[in-house]
């Protein structure tokens, strides 16, 4: 065998993405919700890398850099919201803030 077929790398990315999606839907704790979001973004980055290396172009890695930037921004804002949630409601349950007021 010489080389990995692109299908296999894309299947791995799909499995990771689906696991992240399932975690996002299953969990109610906000820490786990944020971790599932990280998993999904990482799977999208893996698909970019797989496509980029299959065609031998550097665009895949450049897009992965942007995905990492997005993940860092999302994680910092999400964790700030998490701290506020814990401070005001004394819980990590996302259902506690289902009613937003202004």
């Amino acid at each position: 065998m010489n080389g990995v077929p692109l299908d296999h790398a894309l299947v791995l990315a799909s499995i990771l993405f689906t696991l992240g999606l399932a975690g996002l839907m299953i969990r109610r704790n906000m820490v786990f919700v944020l971790m599932s979001l990280e998993i999904m973004l990482n799977a999208a980055g893996l698909a970019f890398i797989a496509g980029g290396t299959a065609w031998g172009q550097p665009e895949g890695q450049a897009m992965f850099l942007l995905v990492i930037t997005l993940a860092a921004a999302e994680a910092s804002v999400g964790l700030a919201l998490l701290i506020q949630l814990n401070q005001r409601f004394k819980t990590l349950d996302t259902d506690a803030v289902s009613r937003m007021r202004g």
Binding site: V4, P5, A22, M35, I39, T53, Q61, A80
Partner: protein, 181 residues
């Protein structure tokens, strides 16, 4: 290279399963770090060493350390583990897991019938090509990413500030607040 790809892919999938099924937040975080490092090994085996190094440094290093610090600040104890265990009933997770499984079958089936036929040879794409691309034709996107990071920094420092200790508002302060709002 193929063996490295399949082994680290297996480790990534198993560690991710550990993340979404664990009841202890700290253990789930450690599983997530293992999963990210396994994905970084997948990048190395596919021939993208720059992306793999970034994955380890930025993802497993910086972002996960941020998570660990926040979990430390939250001071989670046994009560959270018991709460998670109470929430994680088959009644709760069966429906979403079934839907996600159907989605996965659809994705894999589409890939299977698509017959892409491309093979990743594992030729190394170095950081030089990526840098030439990023600071040549993609320069505007790099600056937009910088602005996104700046916006995230401002938002996080505004939203994440701790509440100041309660003190009776003076007239001057409340007037200023009214003007600001």
């Amino acid at each position: 290279m193929e063996i490295a790809f399949y082994l680290s892919g297996l480790v990534a999938v198993l560690a991710t399963l550990g993340v979404i099924s664990n009841t202890n937040p700290v253990h789930a975080l450690l599983y997530l770090i293992v999963s990210l490092i396994a994905v970084a090994l997948v990048f190395f085996s596919l021939g993208a060493p720059f992306a793999g190094a970034l994955e380890i440094i930025v993802y497993a290093g910086a972002i996960m350390v941020l998570f660990v610090f926040v979990v430390m600040m939250l001071n989670l104890g046994e009560a959270v583990v018991a709460q998670e265990r109470a929430w994680l009933r088959p009644r709760t997770w069966l429906g979403p897991a079934l839907l996600a499984g159907v989605l996965l079958v659809t994705l894999v089936g589409t890939l299977w019938r698509g017959d892409i036929g491309l093979v990743i040879e594992g030729e190394t794409l170095t950081a030089k090509a990526v840098g030439t691309l990023l600071f040549g034709p993609w320069l505007l996107i790099v600056e937009l990413a910088a602005i996104l990071l700046l916006a995230a920094l401002v938002t996080a420092s505004h939203v994440g500030r701790l509440r100041p200790p309660e003190k009776p508002p003076t007239d001057r302060e409340s007037g200023a607040r009214k003007e600001a709002s």
